[in-house]
Symmetry: C2
Subunit: 201 residues, 2 copies
DNA sequence: GCTAGTATGGACTAGCGAGTCCAGTCTGGG
DNA sequence: CCCAGACTGGACTCGCTAGTCCATACTAGC
């Protein structure tokens, strides 16, 4: 696997995306290597050729793949939180994204499977959270500069709280199937930011 | 298993608690039936005697066991959210509980393992969330009656948002090991309630 | 202290699924 | 056109683990 030909890269990608798709449908526990092979019309030797450490390496690759999608799916809104309508638009996009995704969260599934053993999975999630939080915080700072949010409010902490609300909303959705909590958390978080200018907390 | 003698009930309980303990330490994926047997000094036949459906039934029982603990661990504060210091005290208790628990969340672990297959696991979590949210909402109503929270605010929705923040904070803690997000979410949620009287959102 | 039902021990099975291996095919640079 | 190295097919091993089975030991009510 030192060098990949075009054909090889394509096969590797096919396996990766096939695994990701299967996990989105059946969860990690419901994914066997043979499932992926059948679905992607590949063979054992190919899988182990491109992912020498087997299942674990594949799962980690899927985690990275899914983590990248998360922020991308929020663009361009996430990077442009410069007005209240923009915040609203972002909020709607987040809700919509997770409503579409349904009850299974690939990332949560993967990380809770790989668990604490491998540092890799945790690292992927941690980095995702940091980047996500940073982008929200940037939005908060924009609004502070525009005089729309109390300048005394800590942008990182506000972003942390908002992010936690999103995560929890999605988590609850996985059990209930409803996005009520996600929406409530986002709305309350944003409402708090808007209100801060009037009544600093 | 129609009737249990005292001895039988004790054995069943030992198995259940042993499984719960093992899961808290190693996660569901890291739990095999033999692990539980070794740990609880019981035999296969006993396990299947008390949990005829085997692993799945045991896991479900553990889920119920853990779900019960969650709310109990927040008492008496959770049931007495009648003043701002009481809210603060509850907030501290929640943070402390999850800080102690560390990076592994048994419930999340179990449900994401049992996954969507069995309706049981989802039901356990859903019911826990409902009860939790209801208790928070009751606290909000108390404060509204005391004139400490804007009466125009929807208590259930506020409780939903706060609950989502908690869940997300805990989820993030599972990756990062830090309770920062949990604390930020709780603090922001409560701050928003307090501020609502001054500046209704 | 009899006996019906409960509790327990532990060997055994069966099947799944990850990972190995080797033999054969393709590809691209020289 | 040649050959080193990338790519592919698929049979095979092997460990692990859930679940079964039967023989035995206990217990409680009568």
């Amino acid at each position: 696997m030192r060098t990949l030909t075009r054909k090889g890269a394509a096969t590797r990608q096919r396996i990766l995306e096939g695994a990701a798709a299967h996990i989105r449908e059946h969860g990690v526990a419901g994914m066997t290597l043979d499932d992926v092979l059948a679905r992607t019309a590949t063979s054992k030797s190919q899988l182990f050729h491109y992912f020498p450490d087997g299942r674990e390496e594949l799962l980690l690759a899927v985690a990275r793949f899914e983590a990248d999608r998360v922020l991308e799916d929020q663009r361009p809104q996430l990077g442009d939180l410069t007005s209240w309508p923009a915040w609203r638009s972002w909020r709607d996009k987040v809700v919509d994204r997770y409503r579409r995704q349904g009850r299974l969260c690939p990332l949560n599934s993967v990380t809770s499977q790989l668990g604490s053993r491998t540092p890799g999975a945790q690292a992927v999630v941690t980095e995702l959270m940091h980047r996500w939080q940073a982008e929200i915080a940037t939005g908060v700072r924009h609004m502070q500069e525009a005089g729309e949010i109390d300048p005394g409010l800590d942008p990182d902490r506000a972003a942390a709280a908002l992010l936690a609300g999103i995560q929890g909303g999605v988590l609850i959705q996985m059990s209930t199937g409803e996005t009520d909590h996600l929406e409530a958390a986002l709305d309350m978080g944003i409402a708090h930011l808007r209100a801060s200018r009037l009544a600093p907390s």
